[in-house]
């Protein structure tokens, strides 16, 4: 009887330990990614940091795409909703905005083909409301990607980067 009970709880604990170990890896690495992205400038939350196309010396994330230019905003919704707004580059440039929860899930994606015009504005909130994107976790990362095919594309890309903002508004 004792052996059976021990075996059953062993199996149950095995499943739980397996799952918890894996979940902790994802959250720990997301913590690391948020910290590294924040360290690019002065560590401020809710602010975009604009990168250049990654090279062999880049270490912010693993497997970066060398053909994309990234802008990242590590957000925290503790103080209110987050408004991400700006302008996309002109037609022909791949552009996307991704939102990542603290467990690494990419819970929202928007790309240039889905937007009716170049200007965009989205609101991210902890609470579900009409016209608002709900973040599954309080903290996360907003990531804008733009394609850079050649060096000449840089002025257009940088203008689009400078146009975006990521700021908290009171809910």
């Amino acid at each position: 009887m004792i052996i059976l009970a021990g075996l059953l709880s062993g199996i149950l604990l095995g499943f739980i330990a397996y799952r918890v170990s894996l979940d902790r890896v994802a959250v720990r690495l997301m913590d690391g990614a948020e910290k590294r992205l924040l360290a690019v400038r002065d560590g401020r939350l809710n602010m975009f940091r604009h990168g250049r196309a990654p090279t062999h010396t880049s270490r912010q994330v693993v497997m970066p795409s060398p053909d994309l230019v990234y802008s990242s905003c590590v957000y925290d919704l503790a103080a209110g909703d987050l408004v991400i707004a700006g302008e996309m580059p002109p037609a022909g440039y791949y552009w996307s905005l991704c939102l990542y929860a603290h467990n690494t899930d990419n819970y929202f994606v928007l790309n240039d083909r889905e937007l009716p015009e170049r200007r965009f504005s989205i609101t991210v909130s902890r609470k579900a409301r009409n016209g608002v994107i709900q973040s599954p976790t309080r903290t996360g990362i907003a990531l804008i990607r733009m394609i850079q095919r050649r060096q000449d594309d840089l002025p257009v890309i940088q203008a689009a980067q400078q146009s975006v903002s990521c700021g908290v508004v009171k809910a």
Partner: protein
């Protein structure tokens, strides 16, 4: 003191502890490889793709693996990723050897091949070109391509293996067509073979 109860408690605790340890060890073991033993993954020849990468319905193993080798990957609607660490015969892509990738264009908005080292980072190359993609690829008259992985520069569609100790090859399909999204197995993926003769540095 009732010895029966004491021995029973010790047996119970030992079995429970063994179970928990086994769970932790299994998690660690499965994270040592980037692919395999995962129902979310699809294996097509030398290539592996994860049909739930970035999705909230992904399992815990997918989430942990993506966090390790591809954190901030995009949902498949936006980009489908294929990985290969071995050739068509199942041999690891040894950077001491030269490799040849042969295939055709993909049904998507934009595609790219990128090579990464053992730390999943880009590899230093003099050309500063880290990828072969749908804009810079040189196609044969029949629309196919041949890409070479080597330390030296063969001066064509080239991915540099530089000083890497291990290689991981990635294909990205940006905004894949509906046909690809509906059936990822329909994607014709390129072959990966070892070159018998090493490429001369240009």
């Amino acid at each position: 003191m009732n010895w029966d109860v004491a021995i029973g408690a010790v047996i119970f605790l030992a079995l429970a502890l063994a179970g928990a340890t086994a769970g932790i060890l299994l998690a660690r073991y499965r994270l040592r490889s980037t692919v395999g033993d995962n129902p979310d993954e699809i294996q097509i020849g030398a290539w592996t793709t994860n049909k739930l990468a970035g999705s909230s319905s992904a399992n815990a193993l997918t989430r942990a693996r993506i966090a390790i080798h591809g954190i901030l990957a995009m949902h498949r609607k936006e980009t489908i990723y294929f990985f290969a660490a071995k050739d068509d015969l199942g041999n690891a892509l040894d950077p001491e050897r030269d490799w040849e990738i042969k295939g055709g264009a993909f049904d998507c908005r934009w595609w790219s091949f990128t090579l990464y080292d053992e730390e999943y980072q880009l590899i230093e190359s003099l050309s500063r070109r880290y990828s072969v993609h749908s804009d810079n690829v040189q196609l044969s008259p029949d629309g196919s391509y041949r890409i070479v992985i080597s330390r030296g520069n063969p001066d064509t569609n080239w991915l540099a293996s530089g000083m890497a100790r291990r290689l991981m090859l990635t294909i990205r399909l940006y905004n894949p067509s509906q046909a690809v999204l509906d059936d990822v197995r329909s994607v014709a993926l390129p072959s990966i073979r070892q070159l018998e003769i090493r490429q001369e540095a240009a």
